[in-house]
Amino acid sequence: MRALEVKMLRDLAAARGQAITIALVVACGIATFVASLGTGHSLVASRAAYYDASRFADVFATVERAPLPLAERIALIPGVAEVETRIVRDVTLDVPGHDAPAVGRLVSIPQGGEPRLNALHLRRGRTIAAHQRDEVVVSEGFARVHGLRLGSRVAAVLNGRRQVLRVVGIGLSPEYVFPIQGGAPLPDDRSFGVLWMDREALAAAFDMDGAFDDVVLTLAPRAPAAPVIERLDRLLEPYGGLGAHGREEQTSHRFLEDEIAEQRTIAATIPVVFLGVAAFLLNVVLGRIVTSQREQIATLKALGYADGRIALHYFSMAVVVVAVGAVLGTALGVWLGRLMTAQYTELFRFPRLEFEMLPVVPLAAALVSLAAGGTGAFAAVRRVVRLAPAEAMRPPAPPGYRHALLERLGLVRGLSPVASMLVRAISSRPLRFAATSLAVACATAIVILGLFWNDAFDYMMAVQFRLAERGSATVVFNRPVGPRAVRELRALPGVEEAEGYRTVPVTLRSAQHSYRTLLQGIDPDARLRVLLDRDLRRISPAGPGILLTRQLGELLGVDVGDAVLVEVREGERPRRWLTVAGLVDDFVGLGAYVDVAALHRMMDEGETVDAAALRIATGSLPAVHARLQQLGGVATVAVKDAWLEVFRATTARFILFFTAILTVFAIVIAIGVVYNAARIALQERSWELATLRVLGFTRAEVSALLLAELALNVLVAVPLGLVLGFCAALGLSLLVHTETFRIPVVIAPRTYGYAALVVLASGVATAFLVRRRIDRLDLVSVLKVRD
C-alpha cells in the first residue's frame, strides 16, 4: 500500500465515529432504494410471468344470460385471439366453525377441468373430474383461513338450495391475485373465497343450460382493446350485457397496478432524502478534514505531489465511506426487500413471488451519493490545493467575525458574551446551520411519514365505517325484490334496523369523459347509509339530482350544477341527463348516488331493492346469519365487523413494519447529523472551549455553550420537521392517490409528539456522546502556540 493510501485509512480511522455515522445514513438511503425498487420490480416480474403462463384475459364482460352460440360470433370479432364463456355467481357459503357468513364466488370451468384462459394454478389436489357436480377447487387464501383441506366439505346456497361441495383441489388464478370482492377496499380471506366448479353443475343450479353470463377473451398481438370492447358490447347488449372492460378495470389487476405504482413512488422519493443527507454530511466532514490538514497538504505539495493526486486522496475517503455504506445498504436492502416481499405474499397471491434485485440499483444509488458527497469535498480540496505551499504552511488567518445581522439591526441587545458567541457562530455559517437543521427536520418528517398511514387509516375507517356506513351487515339479493323483503329482514329477531337499496350498473358521460360505475338509489332519510362531504356534513340525495364522489366528479370534469349523462346498463337501459347536486367524499371507490324514488322512476319500476343494510343487536349475529341462510333470495351476506377486524390486522402488521423501519432510519439520520455537527463544532472550537475552561468556566458551562448550538439546531428542526412531515404526507397521498383508494392527510397529535420525541431523544443521546469528549479537552495543549 502506498504511503498516501495508508494516511487515508488512518485519517478515516481517526474520524471513525463520523465515517461510521455517515456510512450508516448512506446505508439507509441505499437500503430503502434497493428494497422498494426491488420489491416493485419483483411484483412486476412475477405478475408478467404469471399472466403469461396462465393466459390471463385482456377483456372481461358480464351479461345476464347469453346463448352459447354467441361465443362463436365473439371469436369472429377482429382482434380477438381466444374466447372463453363462463358462469360466474356469488353465493353465501356456510363454512364449518365460522360464525359470520362468507361470500363464495362460483366460477365455472369447462369439462375436462382446464380453462383455456385464466388458467388455474393448482397448489394441491387436482382439478374437477368430468361430471363430478359436487367437486370444487378452492382459492388458496380462503382454504387456508378456514382450514379447508382436500376432502373438506363446504355448504353453499345455490339459487336458494343448500348444496354440500367437496374440496378436491386448492389453487390460484390470475384473476384473483388480489382476491377482493367488488366494493371492499382490501381482501378478506375469511369472508370472500373463489370456488371453481363444474360448468354443468353450475348451469343446472342456476338454470343456465346452453347459456353463459360471463365472457373473457384475449387479444391478438398488438390488437387494440377499445374496438373489440365496443363490438363485444354490441353483441352482448340484447342479452343484458353489463358492459365489457379491459384489464385496466379488472379489480385485482388494478389494485396490483396501484401497489406497484406506490412502490415506485416510494423508491423515487424517500431514498432521495437519505442520500441527500449523506451527501451533505460527507460534504461537511470532508471539508473539515481538508481544512484541518492544511499544513499536511502544503507538505505533500512541497514533497512534489500533484494537485490532482492530493484531491484524489481526499476524494478516496468519500469513496471508502460511500462504498461501506453501499455494501451495508445493499445487504440491508435485500433483507428488507425480502421482508417486504414476504408481506406482499400475504396480500397478493402469486404462484411465485420472490424478491429480485437488479444489480444496477445499488450501484446507481452509490454513484448518486458519491457524486453529491464528492462534489462537496472537491470544493474544499480545491480551496486548499490552490494555496502556494509556503502560504498553506502558515496557520489560517483568524476567522473575521462581525456583529450578527440581528445585532446590527438592533433586534438583539444586551446579550451575554456566551450568548453572543452562540449567535455569531450561527450567523457566521448560516448555510451550515440551515442545512443541519433541515437534515434533522427530514428525520422528523420521516418518522411522521412512517406513522401517518396509521392515522389516515384510522380516520378512514372511522368515517367510512362508523359515520357513513352505519349498519353492521349488508345483504345482497339474487335479483331485485319488493319492499316486503326488507320488512321481513327487519322482522328477524336480533335485527334492529333494515334499509333497502337499489343499485344499477351505469355509464356516466360528460363531454369526452366516461366512467362505468354503480348508481345507488338511497332513501333521503336513510339512517344506515349516510353520504358525507369533506367536512363530514351530511348530504342528502333528495330531489332529482345526482351525487358523485368528488374524485368521480374530477374524473368526469364536472362540478356541482353541471349535467352528466347517465346510461343505465340494465333492464330497459334508460339514458338520462342529471344535474350534479353535490360531491360526496368517500374514501373507497368511485360511486354515484340518487334518491331511490328517482331511480325507480328512471327504471320505470315499482318500489324494489336489491340489497339491504342491517343493524344487528350485539351477540345476535350467529342467529341472524342462520335465519338469513334459510331465507330465499339472499345471495350474499357481508358482516362489517368481521371485515374490519381483518382489515385492521392486515394493515396494522403492514404499517407497524414500515413504521418501525422508518423510525430506525430516522434515528440513524438524526444521530448521524447531530453527531457530525457536534464533532465538527468541537474540532473547530476545541481551542476556544479549552480557553474558556482555563478562564474558569466549568465543564457544564463549556458543554452548554457547544451543545446550545446543537440544541438550537434541533429546536429549529423539530417544528420545521413537523411541517415538512405534513407536506411529505400530503405529497405522498397525492402521489399514491389512485382510483381505488384515497388517503386522507390526517395526522394525529400523538404522531407529531412521537416524531418530535424520537428526534429530541436522538439529539440528547448524541449530546451525551459528545459531552464525554468535551470533558476530555486537553487544557494545557491548546494553550501552546499553534505553530
Binding site: 467575525y401 462581525r402 456566551v418 458567541m421 481551542w687 478562564l695 474558569g696 494553550l783 502556540v785 499553534r786
Partner: protein
C-alpha cells in the same frame, strides 16, 4: 524568602515559617508524563514561595519546566509528586471542579497566543470573565487600564497583536484576581509592542498590587522583576532578588 533545594518537608507549617506573606507555596513539586514510550520529567522537585504583591519572573530556556510550573500553580494541571498550596487551598489533591473554581476565583491568565474568542469583541471577551466573577471591574475600566478604551467594540481580527495581548490582560485583571500568571506574554510580539505589554503588566502589579508571575525565556525581562527564579532541567537553579527594579521602558533586548 529562601530556597531549600534539599527540603523534603511537605509540611506546610514549616513552609509558612519561611514566608508569612506567601501566596503560593510549593514543596518538592514534581511532574512527569509519558509521551509515547518515553517518560518525561518536566519538573523534578521544586520548592518555592511567592509573596503577596510580588512580581516574579521565571526565566529559563524552553524545556526547562517553567510552563509546567505555571500550569501547576494556575490549576491547569496536577502534580505527580510534591505539594503546592495557594493560601489555604491545597492544589495537589484538588478535584477537577475545585481547580475550576480556583481558577475562576483567584487566577488571571495571559498567554503567548492571547487566546481571545474570535467571535467576541474586546469588551465581550472581557465580559466573558466578569460575568462569572464575584466582584469584577467594569470591562470598560479594565480595557482603559491597558490603554484600549477606544477599541472596545473591535473583534480580535480587527486588532493588532499587541492590542490583542492587552485585551487578554484586561480579561485577566478584570475579575481582580489575586494572581496574574503570564506565559511568554511578549513571545508573539515585536519589540515595541512587547514593551507596551510589559508596561501594562508592571502598572497592574504596582497599582492594583496583584501578585504577578511572568515566565519568559527573554533574560532582559528579568530586570523588571522583584525576584528572578531561574529554571533548568526541571529545577530552580537560582533565586535572585533585584536590588534595583527597572521600569519596562528601561529594558532593552
Amino acid at each position: 524568602m529562601t530556597v531549600e533545594p534539599g527540603a523534603s518537608g511537605a509540611d506546610r507549617s514549616a513552609a509558612s515559617g519561611a514566608g508569612r506573606d506567601a501566596v503560593f507555596v510549593a514543596r518538592g513539586l514534581a511532574k512527569s508524563y509519558r509521551v509515547g514510550e518515553v517518560t518525561i520529567h518536566a519538573l523534578r522537585g521544586v520548592d518555592l514561595d511567592v509573596r503577596r504583591g510580588e512580581l516574579v519572573v521565571l526565566l529559563g530556556p524552553s524545556g526547562s519546566g517553567k510552563s509546567t510550573l505555571l500550569n501547576l500553580l494556575g490549576g491547569l494541571d496536577t502534580p505527580t509528586g510534591g505539594r503546592a498550596w495557594f493560601l489555604d487551598h491545597d492544589l495537589s489533591d484538588a478535584t477537577e471542579a475545585e481547580l475550576t473554581s480556583f481558577r475562576r476565583e483567584h487566577i488571571g491568565f495571559v498567554f503567548q497566543s492571547y487566546n481571545l474568542i474570535p467571535s467576541l469583541t474586546a469588551r465581550e471577551n472581557v465580559a466573558l470573565v466578569t460575568d462569572i466573577a464575584q466582584r469584577p471591574m467594569d470591562p470598560a475600566e479594565a480595557l482603559t487600564l491597558v490603554g484600549l478604551g477606544h477599541r472596545m467594540d473591535h473583534f480580535p481580527s480587527q486588532l493588532s497583536g499587541g492590542e490583542q495581548q492587552r485585551v487578554a490582560m484586561a480579561r485577566a485583571i478584570a475579575k481582580r484576581p489575586d494572581v496574574l500568571l503570564c506565559d511568554e506574554p511578549t513571545g508573539a510580539l515585536d519589540y515595541e509592542t512587547g514593551k507596551i505589554v510589559l508596561e501594562a503588566i508592571a502598572r497592574i502589579n504596582a497599582e492594583l498590587g496583584t501578585t504577578t508571575i511572568v515566565i519568559t525565556h527573554n533574560a532582559a525581562i528579568a530586570g523588571m522583576a522583584d525576584r528572578v527564579l531561574r529554571l533548568a532541567d526541571g529545577r530552580i537553579v537560582a533565586d535572585e532578588a533585584n536590588a534595583h527594579k527597572l521600569s519596562p521602558a528601561e529594558l532593552s533586548w
